[in-house]
Point group: C2
Chain length 205, copies 2
DNA sequence: GATTTCTTTGAGTCGAGATTCAAACAATTG
DNA sequence: CAATTGTTTGAATCTCGACTCAAAGAAATC
């Protein structure tokens, strides 16, 4: 039989399992999730998966947590990466980072897939709620800075507008990963952009 | 054994099965769907379910189709039910009919549940696309009528604005049925309304 | 290097649910 | 009313994947 024994530490193995599970979910969906697939993707045996996660739900929850953190991190980076003195380009960077790249975008696909558990699982609902709140916070900051600088003249409170932008992204994003044939990625992107221009009164977006 | 034999027609039985399956899906989700549940809900045996739908996917597709039609019909009715001469109240009626009533709203829960198959199943994608397009068409009409009457002064093309309204509804709706703790139904409703007022320039909404 | 403890494996067991199917029966036909 | 055809049933079987667990191996400890 193959290599058997006592490898490094637990955290490394857990991370490998989480990433493997993420892959498996992205490929076959939550319904089709099989321990075998996770084990294969992580290069271990089925027994190992159960050894670390006797409760598969915990693993899925971990996948969700990781996906949320990664996504938020990438958006934060997009924001931070844009010229600090230029609110418009910072908002623009945020807007560019929120939609799936393609119909098959793995990150967004995974997030929507996991979010669907939220209606039935408080843990997942909490993660989804947290993602939403933090995205809203990001946009709120971006909008407020722009308003304070005089670059934006907001059509409503920054907080309300931020809600709207996040909801728009989620709505369009959902249709994109769901293969809505009438809605192309760049079209959705342009529509959101237009909306942002309108509510900020900033043509330079 | 119970009653056995040759009852009425096929269509009646099929409708019963579709509605039973809808119930079952709403209760336990797509993942937890069992033939037994469908059979029980419809008051028939498991064998009968397979007799009419050897391919369970066909039944699920039928459920989706029905949900889409029902939902569209109810929105159309809402629209038609409002004073024909009053574009504002017609748009308002439309806006009032698009969000889930509660976190547990059965209709919306079912729709989101079914939509998630879209990424993996062309049939479901088509239904979702169709729903989106027809909702957009409804809003487009409502907006254009208002603009033609001079009641609305649109901030962009009716078609674009309609897209935005539907996407907003979908985004907020998704969070609501997913138990987003920070987003109450009436808050979402108010946010959409505010947005609609802004883009139509119609304070009376 | 012997002992202890933690990991890993994979073959075997178990169970839930799908699927099959022969028997039973009802409507229809002639 | 006999024969035919379309429906329905539910018990038996089949399938697939979760779960168990004894054996084997590797690090750590002494």
């Amino acid at each position: 039989m193959g290599k058997v024994g006592r490898p490094r530490n637990q955290t490394a193995r857990r991370e490998a399992l989480v990433s493997a599970a993420g892959l498996a979910i992205a490929q076959r969906g939550l319904e089709g999730l099989r321990i075998k697939d996770i084990a294969d993707a992580a290069g271990v045996s089925q027994g190992s998966v159960l050894y670390y996660y006797p409760e598969l739900d915990d693993l899925v929850l971990e996948v969700h947590r990781g996906a949320v953190e990664n996504f938020l991190f990438s958006r934060q980076q997009a924001y931070d990466g844009a010229a600090a003195g230029d609110p418009a380009s910072r908002l623009r960077a945020l807007l560019d980072s929120g939609l799936p790249d393609t119909m098959e975008d793995a990150v967004h696909g995974l997030l929507y897939e996991l979010h669907r558990r939220a209606g039935r699982s408080p843990g997942h609902a909490e993660l989804m709620t947290s993602l939403f709140a933090r995205e809203v916070a990001l946009y709120t900051t971006a909008l407020e800075v722009g308003a304070a600088t005089g670059v934006f003249s907001l059509a409503a409170s920054a907080h309300d507008l931020a809600h709207g932008l996040v909801a728009l992204e989620d709505g369009y994003g959902l249709h994109i990963v769901s293969h809505n044939a009438t809605l192309r990625v760049d079209r959705a992107h342009e529509l959101i952009l237009a909306h942002a221009r309108a509510v900020t009164g900033c043509a330079g977006l």
